[in-house]
Amino acid sequence: MEEVEMKVAKIRNGTVIDHIPSGKALVVLRLLGLTKKVENTLTIAMNVKSKKLGVKDIIKVENLELDPSLVSILALIAPMATINVIRDYKVYEKSKVVLPEYVEGILKCPNPTCISRQQNEPIVSKFKVIEKSPLKLQCMYCYRYVYENEVIEQLVEGK
């Protein structure tokens, strides 16, 4: 890990989410539902210098390993993030989140008259990733663009 991370204490067990875009740590916490988990100590570093991103945010969560389904949500907001699983002070596993070419099922189209919003149809929403940062998606059914602020709003609302 980079030297700057040593500014905050190492954790014994848990997860370190690194390379979060600067200023997004609090949104990531809400998206992952971590603000409600009082049993897990959280350490947040914001505006940390980074070779890759210039500045970045880092989150450390003690005694929790992220559910893989949450990793795909994280990719929408922090497409460059890395997830380090820590066991007994050591990095047990390191992985990068991957923003796929298409995002299926996680989001709903903001257009109420899109076929993917019709409740009696067996249809799963599908968006093409047009831009990764800032995020811009396009509904594969009604072609509507969906922007990052709409995605955050939707995901945070659902938490």
């Binding site: 008259t113 899109c114 076929i115 663009y145």
Partner: protein
């Protein structure tokens, strides 16, 4: 991508080369319109919204090629009993060799193409896509102007909810022309449509006044305000009757201006233009048969 077995979902999916193949085939059918090319074929029409020209011209086109047509009328189908569109599509896919679908819901044709194993033609879904109308519009200009480039094209009316207007803009934007998008401010084009034109580097100007640009235009494409797509009827009342094209409005136009309209018209286009050389909308409707014959022929037979 060739034409055989192809779905027709959006005008965006077709290149100028694809369209040229279509127009050449259309010309053939315009010259000689009877054929038994599709004898034994069944075309399934699924119209979940009102239609005169599109439904009937697809039916006429199919019959002129020797095909049979079945029509699903939503009011008298099991959709009224609550059957999903998904199940309805499965059934129509079993009965037909090609499906033509119209719906007020955006993305219905794409959904139908995902569900059905036979080709699907979008006959208009929601506010965005009406690809076959755009193909007819382009064919009309090519036929009456002799070209699809170097034209000044005005699109007047409901650019927010009008799928014919939006699809036409995306269609004509494939060629090198100057576009004038003219509408009351409340009916101006949506941000995503505007962005798409900008990304495609289309030369276009937005205006709320036809008077300022009428003398420039080679083509004037007039559209109806889409009352049925307004989320709030009070908003419709505010813009109702806000523009009307008649001979007085056209007095400063070029002599060879053509006036197009996808029809139906309500009050935005005066009957006094019908018997002038400018009138192109009834021709559009007629060409609609030949274009749709060409589509059915290319998709089902590859020729």
């Amino acid at each position: 991508m060739g034409w055989k077995s192809r779905d027709v979902i959006s005008i965006d999916d077709f290149t100028k080369e694809d369209l040229e193949i279509l127009f050449k085939k259309t010309e053939e059918f315009e010259k000689s319109i009877s054929s038994n090319l599709l004898k034994g074929v069944i075309i399934g029409n699924i119209f979940l919204e009102y239609s005169t020209r599109t439904r009937i011209s697809f039916e006429v086109a199919a019959k002129k090629l020797g095909a049979e047509v079945i029509n699903l009328v939503a009011e008298y189908s099991s959709i009224k009993k609550g059957e999903s569109l998904y199940d309805t599509l499965h059934m129509m896919d079993v009965y037909s060799d090609l499906l033509v679908i119209r719906s007020p819901i955006e993305g219905t044709a794409k959904f139908a193409a995902d569900v059905c194993k036979h080709p699907v033609i979008n006959a208009g879904d929601g506010y965005l896509n009406h690809p076959t109308q755009a193909m007819i519009d382009l064919y009309t200009i090519r036929k009456l102007k002799g070209r699809l480039d170097d034209l000044k094209v005005g699109i007047l009316g409901d650019l927010r909810y009008g799928r014919a207007a939006i699809s036409f803009m995306f269609g004509i934007a494939k060629y090198s022309n100057k576009l004038y998008a003219i509408s009351p401010p409340q009916l101006s084009m949506r941000e995503d449509v505007r962005n798409k034109l900008i990304e495609a580097k289309v030369d276009f100007e937005e205006s709320s006044s036809l008077d300022k640009v009428i003398q420039e235009l080679d083509v004037l494409y007039v559209t109806r305000i889409q009352k049925e797509r307004f989320p709030d009827i009070a908003e419709y009342e505010k813009v109702k009757g806000s523009y009307r094209v008649d001979l007085k409005v056209l007095q400063n136009s070029k002599r060879d201006l053509i006036v197009m309209h996808p029809l139906p018209r309500v009050d935005e286009l005066s009957y006094e233009i019908d018997n002038t050389p400018m009138q192109a909308y009834f021709k559009q409707a007629e060409y609609g048969i030949y274009v749709r014959m060409a589509l059915l022929s290319l998709i089902l037979r590859g020729e």
